[in-house]
Amino acid sequence: MSVPRPRISTGSGLPPGNPRLPEHINNRNEHPLKDFLLLAGALLALMFVLTLLLGWGAQWLGPKIPYSWESRWFAATPDAIATALPPQTDNGSALTDSAKDRQQALQQLLERLLSQQSAPLKVRLHWLADEDTPNAFATLGGHIFVTRGLLTQVSSENALAMVLAHEYAHVEQRHPITLALEQLAISLLGSVIGGEGAASLIGQHTSLLTLLSFSRDMERSADQRALEILQRHYGHSLGADEFFRNMLAERDENRWALMFQTHPLTSERLQQISQAGSAAASVTTSQLTPLPTLLQLNDGAGSKEPDQITQP
């Protein structure tokens, strides 16, 4: 130690002044950015690796969870969705007769589609009578939701079957439960690293996106599987592209921007579908199956006057 010891003055036995202590003992006096950048970099790398690992873990575990467990755990999903949607205009949560019939017709259509499959999963269809956005989505517990807006967009059973089969393929490939596991893992990670604030932030963002955020790979593989189902049932996959073609023609940017971002680019999907269809190129439109009358909400020309489609 090279600390200069104060000279002892002879008279009082006291030092002549306070010692000048060396700096850097109590304060290392390093550049704060160096430390900060090192740690922040390490943290980001750690989070990246953990997120990847947890994502893989979810993809591995998701399909291994028995489907019956998933159905049991998420039996209440439809109620949660119903309350999340804007309040029903007149009938509350009780379905009107026509809505019940439509729901049943959709269910029957899906069951017909799947009748040739070896061991179809039990999936429940739900009809959203007050939702004008053309949409269909599959969510946890094997629940598929179809909006009235969707039926106003399709003109043949084949097109509707494509959408239903696509959503069924998500359930069959266990995409919703995989996503839920991923989000659970990521919010856990967030709460470990960032404390409660970060966890609730992530929770808010993810719970809303659960319905939409299937990855492009998931969408692509669901498309592929849906085409197989259609091929098996109708013997061709004509008409499958109709819904997406309609969406492309009258794309409502605001509502569909998000959907298009997570779904493989619509034109790319159309290409995939028409490639699959080209094997049976000789089939003409006359081979398209018309919609069951109960599900005909599209008056052919594609015009969407509300009074024309709200008939029961």
Partner: protein, 151 residues
């Protein structure tokens, strides 16, 4: 995205102003310590016999410091990885030295020759930053020994 921008802005502001204040403060501390070097500050409880005829009184120096955003984040990172929290060390080092200087200035005003029985106290000023360290008070106090005139 917006939240990230706010975060980065706060971080940059905290770093810029915090760094500026710290280097200024250290310059001032070192200069004042040199100026007050002759006013002895000792930790001993009993002053030597030399001071037996001096009067005595309590002198105090108190400092309240607040953490800037950059330091909070840097310390939060240290909280994950462990190790010396350099961001807080420099802050508290400044606070302790400033507290002694204020106490010395108090003593000099009273005409003291030395301050004995130096003690520190540190307390957190409650809850003003949620879970994090908000403001901290550092108090230095001791017994000032003042020569009695006219004897």
């Amino acid at each position: 995205m917006g939240q990230l921008l706010v975060f980065l802005t706060l971080l940059a502001l905290g770093y810029g102003f915090g760094r500026l204040a710290e280097s200024r403060h250290y310059r001032s501390i070192i200069a004042r310590e040199d100026a007050l070097r002759s006013l002895l500050v000792m930790p001993d409880r009993m002053p030597p016999i030399h001071f037996q005829n001096h009067g005595s009184t309590l002198v105090t120096g108190s400092v309240v410091i607040s953490v800037d955003y950059f330091k909070t984040v840097a310390a939060g990172l240290r909280g994950l990885f462990g190790g010396r929290v350099g961001a807080y060390e420099s802050l508290l080092d400044r606070a302790r030295r400033e507290a002694i200087l204020r106490m010395q200035e108090d003593a000099r005003k009273l005409g003291a020759e030395a301050v004995f029985n130096l003690k520190f106290e540190t307390s957190r000023i409650a809850q003003n930053a949620g879970q994090g360290l908000g403001s901290v008070e550092v108090l230095a106090y001791g017994t000032a020994l003042i020569p009695v005139h006219g004897r």
